[in-house]
Symmetry: C3
């Protein structure tokens, strides 16, 4: 019972949860329009099956976890980790085939749970992009998750054009200087888009100051962002003493994973993994404060207000006016549109 | 001015209120999509007229009751209990025919107010099913009303398949034992559906324990439910010493009347009428607690969550997988669909 | 970039704000479906430009006012008071034509800010109706603004038929007597509608009692209301000693300006400008109390409840039954429909 029609790309690896969210309590989460229930088996394996009982459509996340089986809390049907209905207490045990539900290929990698909602034979573990910085012992990671009432693409646009930093996040930008001058490089390799920014000769932002004894040091700051389909962003942000190689500086990897929930909402998994001041709790607090303020209090309301304008914009045929700084975002959008079109055509052929 | 098109069956007796809800204060309530205003005349007769003033569409429930007339609170038009506009203070008293509104045949029977929204000539008082247990002096009734944000049929499905008792209501089920074994009989007579359950050799549920000195008595528990169109359910639940006739046991009649309000919501009139421990207030409290917990805190949220999934289910063409235990619910649904189809065709012919 | 399609009349003067609402803080307000941002330039001139940045659709009301320019808070684009994009900090300063946005003709007159959203060449300042009573030094004005979750026309219907006074506002009506008898005159001149009411031989309402030493004086009360497109209402309400000319009495001008925000909501600018007891703060308080009670606590909920019934009324093809007292409201509605039709046809021709 595969999701046959969709406004979403399904043949892709989506992140559905942080590893530490999935345990022996049932977790319901919708990704790309599909309600899923997640749990960890007795042997520790993360597992995901369709989140709706096929009998009377009770949400399985309201049910109970019995050993490795999910029991629906409405009429007691039980499903194993392959989605197979293994108990029907209502009809003398009879189980018809239609009672089996989908299970989804899952990968637990780099502290993230990756799910494949599309055609099983297309799921290749090696297609999961590298987020190994999240579990790199030489780094300290601060992370979080928020739900945004706005389309997934709006949040990706936000992240692929960091030109908004000096405005939307100006309280933080003010603490540094010299970000007016930027060298930008946009590059595409297959379906991966790179957007590399270099700010030569600036004062480091507050997030990096703990790495320098002299807070007035002049540095080159770089911000190299990489996008993989669809909504998987990793950026390396760092500073080097002006003109010297990156091995002489400090940096953090940013994790910005934006996953569609419905057409009107998305999940935003974010993290910062730094290679300096790893044991300094005041630097932990700085990153937590930055994530709360910039991502939750500044980006999220902006995206939600723009989303709320969509009916007006559609009714009046308004399309955004792209700037040259939107080069990366434009490439991303083209890739997404082309992937969706291909997939919708392939579904029609079936 | 009859409601010409409708997604609802109109040629049926709906319950619109408990008798004691209708008095000398105007009560507005929507049934099957039709806004109605209810009140009691000076002579005590319950009365229902269309709930919307035909002039500027003010809700008449916001108006005033003057003797037996409803005065609209917007411009002062007055309507008598036949729906006739009898005063127009705005235009020198002139009343055009279009100002008259519908009055609806009402029956007050067994502490319930029954309304007929369809063709008047089809309204037959004898078609009202028997709910006389509600006013039987040999019984003690505990009752209530709640509004559910879910389609009427989802709540009927819930009630016509009591197999959910051991799961959704397991806190109460735990207090008894032996409910795994059930003998089931489904029967249809005309448009009435019977679903009779027998649980031989079990411990009585907590609701019946006050009827037994020895709380470990083994009994046969039965639950005979009867459905009449559309959404009028009465069940007799009782226990008898194992193998003996029902006259040797105790029982309660359950009232479960589920009335569509809109396509997305319904009214649920519920009651329990027991023939034992009638004067025992602790048993009253048990029933109140059961109604609050099982009906309001367990059934209602489940129905509302299933209702919220409907757009997803429709978009993906999912239909419920029926179990053999759904035999009664399936018959009910077929009757409702066939009644609605007949009525919609009859309306087209007019 | 003009708003090309609209369910609203655009070639008309709308009120968008009270003068004292517009200052050096950006004010976002939607009128006739169009989001607008308002501010006052350094030289004091009130200014309105389109409320949405053309780049990524950020609401400009979330931005910053820098001298006379609006800076978008997302990526820092700046717009001058003509809507011209004068700074693009993202792409080396390059500004393409598509980045310019609409500015709207504004007039500040009689303490109101008037906006023209339609074809600029049709905007004639002299077409703004006379609301000079609001700034007449011989009068004392008490005013306010509320937002109503109901269609603009419903609120206009309310105001153009003051026959609701004795019912919806009966608490206030009770304080006076003799309002049953009314002489009514409806007149139309071009697109202006007049509805003049005379109540001969009544006791003045509480709002006028401060003008009389003897509170039992019998007076003639008049209420002459004038409507201009679309939703601009001014009424003169006054009392004269019975049978004598208006110059012997006292009066107040009522301002009732109802402006569509969306198809489901409107802005209501209201005021009372009296020519008596101007320095009496207890009379100020009487008017504030009247505006709060009658307009916000009585009219607004009635309109919102009627609005909520619209889906039911439309689905059942119900149209309001007009009374002879609705003569003025009917003329108003015809004018509005005809204006909208003309404008929609003119837009198609383009």
């Amino acid at each position: 019972m595969t999701n046959k029609t969709s406004e979403f790309i399904l043949n892709t690896w989506y992140v559905i949860a942080w590893s530490d969210e999935v345990n022996r309590t049932l977790l319901g989460r919708t990704v790309a329009g599909v309600p899923v229930v997640l749990y960890r088996r007795l042997d520790g394996t993360a597992t995901a099956i369709h989140g709706v009982c096929p009998h009377r459509f009770a949400p399985l996340a309201m049910g109970n976890l019995i050993e490795d089986r999910v029991q629906c809390n409405y009429h007691g049907l039980e499903f194993d980790c392959s989605g197979k209905c293994v108990k029907n207490p209502q009809s003398g045990g009879q189980v018809v085939d239609a009672l089996h539900i989908d299970a989804y290929p899952l990968q637990e990698k780099h502290s993230l749970i990756w799910i494949w909602l599309g055609d099983r034979d297309k799921a290749q573990q090696q297609d999961i992009p590298d987020f190994s910085h999240l579990t790199d012992p030489a780094r300290r990671t601060i992370k979080g998750l928020s739900r945004v009432n706005g389309g997934h693409q709006l949040m990706v646009d936000n992240l692929m054009d960091l030109g908004h930093f000096n405005y939307l996040h100006k309280a933080m930008a003010k603490l540094s200087t010299g970000f007016e001058d930027v060298k930008r490089e946009v590059r595409q390799e297959g379906n991966t888009v790179f957007n590399n920014l270099l700010f030569p000769g600036c004062k480091p932002t507050v997030l990096f100051q703990s790495g320098f004894e002299d807070k007035d040091t002049i540095v080159d700051q770089f911000n190299d962002i990489r996008w993989d389909p669809i909504g998987l962003m990793r950026n390396q942000v760092g500073v080097t003493p002006t003109g010297r190689g990156r091995e002489h500086g400090i940096n953090q990897y940013g994790t910005h994973i934006v996953i569609p929930e419905t057409v009107d909402s998305c999940h935003y998994f974010y993290g910062s993994s730094r290679n300096y001041s790893q044991d300094d709790e005041t630097v932990d607090a700085l990153f937590r404060q930055w994530q709360q303020r910039a991502l939750n209090d500044e980006d999220k309301p902006m995206i939600e207000k723009i989303h709320a304008l969509q009916p007006y914009l559609r009714a009046n045929g308004r399309t955004p006016v792209m700037l040259s700084s939107d080069g990366a975002a434009v490439r991303v959008q083209r890739i997404v549109e082309s992937m969706l079109k291909l997939e919708q055509e392939a579904r029609k052929d079936k």
